[in-house]
């Protein structure tokens, strides 16, 4: 069955979530404006994994009864196993910049701000980095400002790190022990050389980097069916565009 990039990305993220080598993802929180990670989480749930999803910006049935503080308290307690982060800039040591470029506080391009990243990145058991744009502008050698650090000094309390960075062109695996990415798989039509040219940071690559596994028919059926059903209230435009399902409202 043919598929669009968003479907490939959702399926790829879902496989990372289920990665048996990673710590279990019993409770996943998904932030605002993250339809592809949300689709990946719903896919995992609809595939039968015993996962609790807390969708932060769900208006009806919002998971939190203590206000916006509760996500951070939950994470402080160690109850959030997986979170998603992106960045205006991401560098080769998995540092994130959500502040801006130029002098502090972003006199070049100012990004909206760091939200909870300086806390969540360190206190969540693992993080999947997701940024669809794969360009030297976003994937830089060294971020202008570190909103949230990719690794921490010995002794600093930290529960987890980036597991992987998923872009519109490839998947990088992160290795916190050496603070470097390695190229895990290439999306259709990509090559290692093309990725090197589009990436501002150095990374490791095996001689033979596999293709990112395509979605199966079963995965696509779930995405376009029950996953889309769950997502339409929160992401009506995404569902209309990607799954061709117009909102009834």
């Amino acid at each position: 069955m043919s598929f669009v990039l968003e479907e490939l990305l959702a399926v790829t993220i879902a496989r990372l979530i289920r990665d048996p080598a990673a710590p279990p993802a019993r409770h996943i929180a998904v932030g605002a404006a993250s339809p592809i990670p949300a689709a990946a989480c719903w896919l995992v749930a609809k595939q039968g994994a015993p996962v609790r999803l807390s969708l932060l910006h769900k208006r009806s049935g919002n998971p939190f009864t203590e206000g916006t503080r509760e996500l951070f308290d939950l994470t402080g307690q160690g109850r959030i196993d997986l979170f998603f982060l992106g960045g205006g800039e991401i560098d080769g040591a998995a540092n994130l910049n959500l502040i801006g470029t130029g002098e502090w506080p972003g006199t070049g391009v100012r990004f909206p701000g760091s939200f909870g990243s300086a806390f969540m990145y360190m206190m969540t058991n693992r993080t999947i980095l997701f940024r669809e744009e794969h360009s030297p502008r976003v994937l830089v050698d060294r971020v202008a400002h570190i909103s949230a650090p990719g690794v921490s000094a010995p002794g600093v309390f930290r529960r987890g790190h980036a597991q992987a960075l998923v872009t519109g062109r490839c998947v990088f695996r992160f290795h916190p022990e050496r603070a470097r990415f390695s190229l895990e798989s290439l999306h259709p039509g990509e090559s290692v050389d093309a990725i090197r040219a589009a990436t501002g940071f150095d990374f490791d690559a095996a001689d033979d980097v596999p293709q990112t596994t395509a979605p199966t028919d079963a995965e696509l059926a779930l995405l376009r069916g029950v996953v889309c059903d769950e997502m339409r209230e929160t992401y009506p435009e995404f569902c209309a565009r990607v799954f061709n399902r117009k909102s009834a409202a």
Partner: protein, 272 residues
């Protein structure tokens, strides 16, 4: 409890106040923000709880704000906040970057009446490096090398938000949006706009009490129908994405913003 007028409420906010407001998903009083622009307030220091949204951007655009402390200012799906971005580029506001749980923690410290509270994370972030008021100390309950960040209590001069309703006793009801309660507890004055005033007392009703904020924290209530618009209000009304998208488009330029403000803030028909 006798509600005051929205304009009288805006007039009670002095120039230079530290005013704290929740963002678009958390009961902002856009009605009060517009009334503050009409009143011509100046020199506000704005605290986003924990981020700023539409109301923050229009106050910044209208020149009411000299300083912003927040974890972000964003219009959500409609993208970057245009007047905030322009003000940072122009250097016309002082920006104190924060991180969401730090805002909650600083307010909780004020709520509890302690001078500081610790927070995990943050170490290694440049946000911390730019906050001389945040202190890194050895965790007295930890191993050597286990440092932790202390954040000072913050007690806003004014807390401003939009509740669903007030009752005769002056209690207000915000449902599960308990960050508004923490904010009211932590602030010197809480100014609350509401959709309506209802008879009775929420504290006498077990179902409503847990979503109420006691009148002891509320200085004044003003009725502002649809006062959160374009933000959503719980199950009362939804987010007006088209209104925000139009704002985002017009406010890309200073001239476009001024046109928007003249039409949406100063025109009598809208202000009424």
């Amino acid at each position: 409890m006798t509600p005051m007028s929205l304009d009288a409420m805006a007039a009670s906010v002095p120039d230079g106040a530290l005013i704290a407001m929740p963002p678009d998903n958390s009961l902002p009083s856009v009605a009060l923000a517009k009334a503050l622009i009409r009143r011509g307030v100046r020199g506000l220091r704005l605290l986003g709880v924990p981020v700023g949204g539409f109301a923050a951007d229009i106050l910044i655009g209208a020149g009411c704000v000299v300083e912003v402390e927040t974890s972000a200012v964003s219009l959500g799906e409609a993208g970057f906040a245009p007047r905030f971005s322009a003000a940072i580029r122009a250097g016309s506001i002082v920006m104190r970057d924060c991180t969401c749980p730090a805002v909650h923690t600083m307010l909780q410290a004020a709520e509890k009446g302690v001078p500081f509270m610790p927070l995990r994370g943050l170490i290694g972030s440049d946000i911390l490096a730019h906050r001389p008021d945040w202190k890194v100390v050895p965790n007295p309950y930890g191993e050597p090398g286990d440092d932790i960040v202390l954040l000072p209590a913050i007690s806003p001069d004014v807390a401003a938000f939009h509740a669903v309703m007030a009752d005769e006793a002056g209690n207000v009801w915000v449902g599960r949006r308990r960050e508004c309660a923490t904010l009211a507890h932590a602030s010197k004055r809480a100014l609350v706009t509401v959709e309506r005033v209802v008879p009775g007392n929420f504290l006498e009703d077990e179902n409503l009490a847990s979503g109420a904020i006691s009148a002891t924290y509320i200085e004044a209530v003003a009725i502002a129908t649809r006062g959160a618009r374009p933000a959503a209000l719980l199950d009362e009304y939804g987010f007006d994405a088209a209104y925000v998208a139009e704002y985002a488009r017009m406010a890309r330029s200073e001239a476009g913003f001024q046109e928007w403000v003249a039409r949406e803030v100063f025109s009598q028909a809208v202000a009424a």
